[in-house]
Symmetry: C2
Subunit: 435 residues, 2 copies
């Protein structure tokens, strides 16, 4: 048995989870790893805040030096944000401390420099909890996919937006209504901007991309679209046509050491895709590579216990698994971040029945690069509802010919890698139903 002194920086949701887990699950951790973790100090901002945690008071301090100087071999940083987290972590390295963190923003923005500083000081920096809550995605990529060249990542990485989209689909409720209720229930932050606009997912995608493609793409170079303009009508139509709408984080590398494209935004997924059924607060990551073919990991993307689980695993693995060499180049020189091609799905509700002059409309659309896949028909009345149209280039700014009087109810890229390939969405055929 080896005793390990632990410092805990922050006692919010994750910090509380870690404190409880080190108490309640100490026996299994000790039995399986022969490591006994002992908390030496907990840094908080407000020491007089009422906390419903037995025995916590004796560890609490507001002075980081107290924690740093209390025989600590590993520091757990769960404060979040750039500062003071970054300075604390650097000071921990200088004091010869390993660091385990859940800080996605810091790791996305300064992970490479921090990893170098850790290496220079002969200590480790682990950050499993920064992506996907309890899902051991980083560990899997680092230790169980060493033989595969990964070329595509597709992830649902933000629980808040996934929860909102799930409820909007199920309840046919508007974005504003569901967001307000989610905030009320604690599933969304008071300021939901980072989640809703895809910034949180972009942090996580940047981290995943570093491991998968060994390429660092700064967060501000990731193309981002939020979910705020999605309507329940759009979700219902997509579902009826065999697609789920998800806020997807997508990364693709074009050839070994080739350029990397990273995007976050709402996209259509065929319902046969493993991620299409990932609902509510669940996160999932689908990886595609040359040897393993594809692997999906799924689990709870946030919350006290799942996130604490990831921290605890890192805590053990600092002392169990081999130190990881950074194989990611720290510049993007020579790499261009290109837009992903692919199919865009447009659903148009026409004001006049299209059946009368379909051929003309079709010709007009195809001059704009569209393929009319089929007419959508109301199953109850049998009347035409609209046109389903595809465009090869998912980045193409969609606009309809002037002579087509209609509204675009859906106007989104289609994703899904091999699963989309299976469905032939990348090379649509013109299937015109009889009128």
């Amino acid at each position: 048995m080896k005793r390990i002194g632990v410092g805990l920086l922050g006692l919010g949701t994750v910090g509380t989870g870690v404190f409880k887990a080190l108490k309640n699950n100490q026996d299994v951790i000790l039995k399986r790893t022969e490591l006994l973790f002992e908390i030496k100090g907990i840094l908080v901002r407000n020491p007089s805040k009422k906390r419903n945690l037995e025995g916590v008071q004796s560890y609490i301090t507001t002075d980081y030096q107290d924690v740093l100087e209390s025989d600590v071999q590993v520091m757990i940083e769960v404060i979040g944000g750039l500062e003071p987290a970054r300075t604390y972590i650097e000071q921990a390295f200088e004091a010869g401390c390993h660091v385990v963190t859940a800080n996605k923003e810091l790791i996305a923005k300064h992970g490479l420099e921090l990893a170098k500083k850790a290496q220079k000081n002969g200590v480790q920096l682990l950050y499993e909890a920064s992506v996907g809550g309890g899902i051991p995605i980083l560990g899997t990529m680092q230790h169980f996919l060493k033989g595969s060249r990964l070329h595509r990542i597709t992830g649902i990485l933000n629980g808040t937006t996934n929860y909102i989209l799930t409820r909007m689909t199920e309840e046919k409720a508007s974005f504003g209504e569901v967001l307000a209720d989610a905030q009320h229930q604690g599933y969304a932050e008071a300021d939901p901007t980072s989640d809703v606009e895809g910034l949180d997912a972009a942090y996580k995608l940047s981290i995943l991309s570093r491991l998968a493609f060994e390429t660092h793409v700064p967060v501000d170079q990731i193309s981002r679209t939020g979910i705020q303009d999605i309507t329940p009508d759009e979700l219902a139509i997509c579902h009826q046509l065999g697609y789920a709408v998800k806020l997807l984080a997508k990364g693709e590398q074009f050839g070994e050491k080739g350029p990397v494209s990273l995007q976050v935004g709402p996209a259509l997924l065929p319902l046969s895709h493993p991620l299409a059924k990932v609902n509510g607060v669940y996160n999932a990551i689908h990886l595609e590579g040359d040897l393993v073919q594809d692997v999906t990991l799924m689990g709870q993307g946030a919350g006290e216990q799942p996130t604490a689980s990831a921290v605890i695993e890192d805590l053990c693995n600092v002392f169990r698994l081999p130190y990881l060499k950074n194989t990611c180049s720290d510049s993007t020189s020579g790499l261009s971040v290109t837009d992903e091609g692919g199919s865009r799905f447009v659903y148009v509700k026409t004001k006049k029945p299209v059946s009368r002059n379909l051929k003309e409309i079709q010709q007009s659309l195809s001059r704009n690069g569209y393929t009319v896949e089929r007419l959508s028909t109301d199953p109850e009345t049998g009347r035409n509802l609209g046109l389903i149209v595809r465009h090869w280039d998912s980045a193409y700014e969609c606009s309809l010919p002037e002579d087509l009087d209609g509204d675009m109810v859906v106007n989104r890229p289609v994703s899904g890698g091999q699963f989309a390939d299976d469905m032939d969405v990348h090379e649509p055929q013109v299937i015109l139903e009889t009128l």
Copy 2:
């Protein structure tokens, strides 16, 4: 860089995949692990068999001693079956060789003794490829879930039966038809007994259960039901009612160090369950525990490349990850293998319309322990089709009261852990539709 001599026992599908992977992916493996694997010898039964593998001929031998004596540090066993695989592995241990194997039958039946022999000889025995093809499920359980007490495993562990059930559902084809075609296409063995009757899945469940519950349950104590009597009618009705039918491997532990129940058999899964959409040759494992809550891993459960991926990862990790201590007791003394309770779903097609005397039928059924959940109605004609009936005890042998003249079209347990709980299937309410 460290050079490692490798012996390869068997050159079937997996062996071929490993040979190719060590050639085609050597550069990434070397870069990420600083290990250079060099094949020293390949044991085959028939040396004159035509093989479309460049450069393989110079390694081939029919004498195991040739391989054993050719400066090999690790032996890859992909012959399958109990003998001679077991003897070869033991001889490798005695020669100081690590062993990586894909042999589920051998590991399920003799894994504990073999692990002990490996430990005694100071070498490692790894067997990731024995469960779930390319899915790194064993590694995840051993290295990334050390802080969680797992209490339930639900898995789709056999690709052949999953492929058959998927096609039966999609094509409304019979078991016999699909099996014949699957055999023709190479998705099913000439003798499909082990797959179809759930034995293959039981081997894998036994291995998973050892890691999850630290309890060894011999394969012959796992309750097993095959898929051979499933009809396309049954699949269609279940799908219509919100369920997928899957050959599930289920393990549950009742309390820490408590009794363990292991079962393999077709079961209904709510379509909201992460495993319900795992189709075709995909495998998936859903783990539930106290800290991580739940994690699902999904991927291709068989095939040359995915299985070779698992072998390659083990090959690297023999030299990278810490040796694992066996924490599983090698007897089942003190542990009783009990049957899982839960809900059973019975769908009865009545010969006479039930709407006329529903109350009497309901009373008669409830005397047999059934709850009538609702009447199922044909959406097209509006006529009653049958009764949907539940029984709390999934192990209950279902029989209908004599006065109810009907056929049981579905008669299966319902699974799904927390997802089933969400759906209230464990405590069904009587929802009688208006007649």
